[in-house]
């Protein structure tokens, strides 16, 4: 089975993101970028299938030159090769999905994995839009997957339960936390990754379909008060919740 995994280069979740000087983007100075955590689940799932059924895992990213570091991270986990679509500032989801689809339509694959959501703009849209552009079914935010002949059965959580979805293949499937436990790259994996091929393919990320008006910091929560220590503080807390906060 040949599997494509779409991955994105995003700021580490620990990073204190700052607004850039244009007031419309983030300052990437001093920011540590990583492989989007949801994409780790996607890569892991693809590797498990490859180990089980054979085939090749190809990573694809649209992003700046530095995004190749993220591709190396996925290659170090065990992916076979990677495609880099150069684009200094990936625009909105629709434009990214269009650009990815344009390249992917000429590649042979049996299945496409994505992460549920990129931990930068938290859009959770690219996989679904990509599926539409490729004319494929999609199953988003899955926590369990079983492959059968030509079909896949996946679990996706919704408010109040789990939907068990059956889809024909190929499909675009996006991974949620819980799907698997991503592996650590081994030293051998990391060293081998440095020698695996990364192919640059020109791409057109087009005109953005969304205009960014401004970026601001949300209002900070003011630190509250320590009511007291241990069980003795409980009556006071209850009183405050009733009389001051008026929530119970």
């Amino acid at each position: 089975m040949n599997i494509l995994v779409c991955v994105k280069h995003v700021p580490d979740t620990e990073t204190a993101v700052k607004i850039g000087s244009d007031g419309k983007s983030i300052s990437t100075q001093d920011v540590n970028f990583i492989l989007n955590p949801y994409d780790e689940y996607a890569v892991e799932e693809a590797l498990k299938i490859k180990e089980d059924k054979g085939g090749e895992v190809t990573l694809i990213t649209l992003g700046p030159e530095e995004a190749k570091k993220t591709l190396r991270t996925g290659l170090a986990m065990g992916a076979d090769k990677a495609i880099h679509l150069p684009c200094d500032a990936p625009p909105d989801s629709l434009s990214i999905a269009n650009a990815l689809a344009e390249v992917i339509k000429d590649i042979e694959y049996d299945l496409i994995f994505c992460g549920k959501q990129a931990m930068d703009n938290d859009n959770a849209q690219v996989p679904i839009m990509l599926a539409e552009k490729l004319g494929l079914p999609n199953v988003s935010a899955i926590t369990k997957l079983e492959l059968e002949d030509g079909t896949a059965v996946a679990h996706r959580e919704f408010e109040g339960g789990v939907e068990v979805v059956e889809t024909s293949l190929p499909a675009v499937i996006s991974a949620h936390k819980g799907l698997n436990e991503p592996r650590y790259a081994s030293l051998k994996g990391i060293m081998m990754a440095k020698k695996k091929p990364i192919e640059d393919k020109p791409c057109d990320c087009g005109d953005a379909a969304i205009e960014i008006v401004d970026v601001t910091y949300p209002q900070q929560r003011a630190g509250g008060k320590i009511v007291g220590e241990g069980t003795e503080a409980v009556p006071e807390l209850v009183k405050l919740l009733q009389e001051e906060a008026k929530v119970i």
Partner: protein, 435 residues
């Protein structure tokens, strides 16, 4: 990579020592891999203050034009604190404001080390972050490679340069170093506090990219054997305290509380006021100096930087330049060993000779008695600051008392609290300890 692939040299740790070693090696065509346990080089590094750069400027000439340095240090200040007061020696010169900027830069290591590592990688070294060396592989008394975590993979090489910093448990594993003596191991905690750039410049009287370095004794660390420090970055200040573990224990102090107390001191509070805490970290500093140095080499292994205890713990407070210099010397030793095809201890001990001829050992020797001296005379840092500031407080107090009377009283108090003979003795001892 084939199973047999083997590097000429493995460097453990991508700090100043490791990166200087690796850069020197790749420039000479030696195949080198640098393993760093942090998520990226610098992610775990804590240094609070001045990066001293004479060696770096040779490795990467005019590095400051592209490196993420914060400020060049033109302003140095030493002071002692009592509970209420401060007495200071303050020095500033515009002469340090021109290339080479007196080789003194404030940096944030998370940024700087990453940049340095990028240069080294570009020069051809393989840098592998996120990988910890858990064990040195030893065969017949010779180090032959390393074992790594996560994964437990092994990697072979002719020689390992160990640049793992203060904890240096690998050096301990192979018996080059005994467990640390808490008298000679300091623990430092450091906080980075964000402030607007112009606020920093006006609070500390700095023009443009000038920076300052404050070293503060006495009540800064509640009279323990250590000091507080404060350095200016572009848009933040690094503030911290460090004292020997032994002394902290003896005084039943916790370094976090000491730092909190330091920040609240009336002489310090206005300097940090209104800032936003950006990061907080603790780290060890080996302060044993020349007399507590580990054995530096064995077949297939060289120790450098903090791992070898190369810190000048006097008022110079240098570790970064000793780390870089020792990294370069270790690399040169490896290059020579490679030419000979011999990595035995006999060949690698050439490293020691190089250090003897460099400022590394000369400085460590000069101050070798200093730390022992302060350990033996705890009253110098515990009692003197209070007494001296007390005397100055009396001396400058304005009242109807005639000045002659004030002088007399102050001298009498000085005799009573310290004593002229004791004071002269202490000063002489201090001078001797730095000869």
């Amino acid at each position: 990579m084939s199973e047999e692939e083997k590097f000429d040299c493995i460097v453990v740790g991508a700090g100043p020592a490791g990166l200087s070693a690796a850069l020197t090696l790749v420039k000479a065509g030696v195949e080198v891999a640098v393993l760093e346990r942090g998520e990226y080089p610098g992610s775990k590094n804590v240094m609070g203050g001045i990066l001293f750069t004479p060696v770096l400027d040779k490795l990467l000439p005019e590095f400051w034009k592209s490196a993420p340095v914060e400020r060049f240090v033109t302003h140095r200040r030493y002071s002692v604190l009592s509970k209420e007061g401060e007495a200071a020696f303050d020095f500033k010169t515009a002469a340090y404001g021109e290339p080479d900027y007196n080789n003194s830069w404030t940096v944030l290591r998370a940024k700087f080390d990453r940049w340095f590592a990028d240069q080294v990688e570009e020069a051809g070294a393989m840098i592998i972050p996120g990988m910890m060396v858990s064990e040195l592989l030893v065969k017949d008394g010779r180090v032959t490679g390393v074992k790594t975590e996560p994964g437990g993979d092994e990697l072979n090489c002719d020689v390992v340069i160990c640049c793992e910093g203060a904890n240096s448990f690998l050096a301990e594993q192979v018996g080059l170093r005994k467990p640390h003596d808490p008298k000679h191991l300091a623990v430092a905690v450091k906080e980075v506090i964000g402030l607007p750039q112009d606020e920093i410049e006006s609070r500390f009287h700095l023009n443009g990219n000038e920076g300052c370095a404050y070293e503060i004794f006495g009540q800064a660390v509640q009279g323990t054997f250590g000091s507080g420090f404060l350095y200016t970055n572009k848009e933040s200040i690094s503030i911290g305290v460090g004292s020997t573990i032994h002394d902290m224990k003896r005084h039943e102090l916790n370094p976090n509380d000491v730092l909190e107390g330091f920040k609240k001191h009336p002489a310090i509070a206005p300097l940090v006021k209104g800032g936003e805490s950006l990061e907080y970290a603790a780290h060890m500093i080996p302060e044993g100096g020349y007399s507590h140095m580990p054995k530096l080499t064995m077949s297939g292994l060289i120790l450098t930087g903090d791992a070898a205890g190369f810190v000048n713990a006097s008022h110079y407070h240098e570790g970064s330049n000793l780390a870089m210099a020792s990294g370069v010397h270790a690399a040169e030793t490896v290059i020579a060993a490679k030419e000979k095809g011999d990595f035995s201890e006999a060949t690698l001990s050439g490293y020691r000779d190089k250090l003897e001829n460099s400022f590394v050992f000369k400085d460590l020797k000069k101050f070798q008695k200093f730390s022992g001296f302060l350990n033996d005379n705890p009253h110098l840092l515990r009692d003197y600051p209070d007494s001296i500031i007390g005397l100055l407080t009396d001396y400058f107090r304005i009242s109807e008392k005639p000045k002659a009377q004030i002088e007399k009283d102050v001298i009498a108090k000085f005799r009573r609290e310290i004593g002229i003979i004791n004071f002269a003795k202490d000063m002489y001892k201090m001078w001797r300890a730095t000869r």
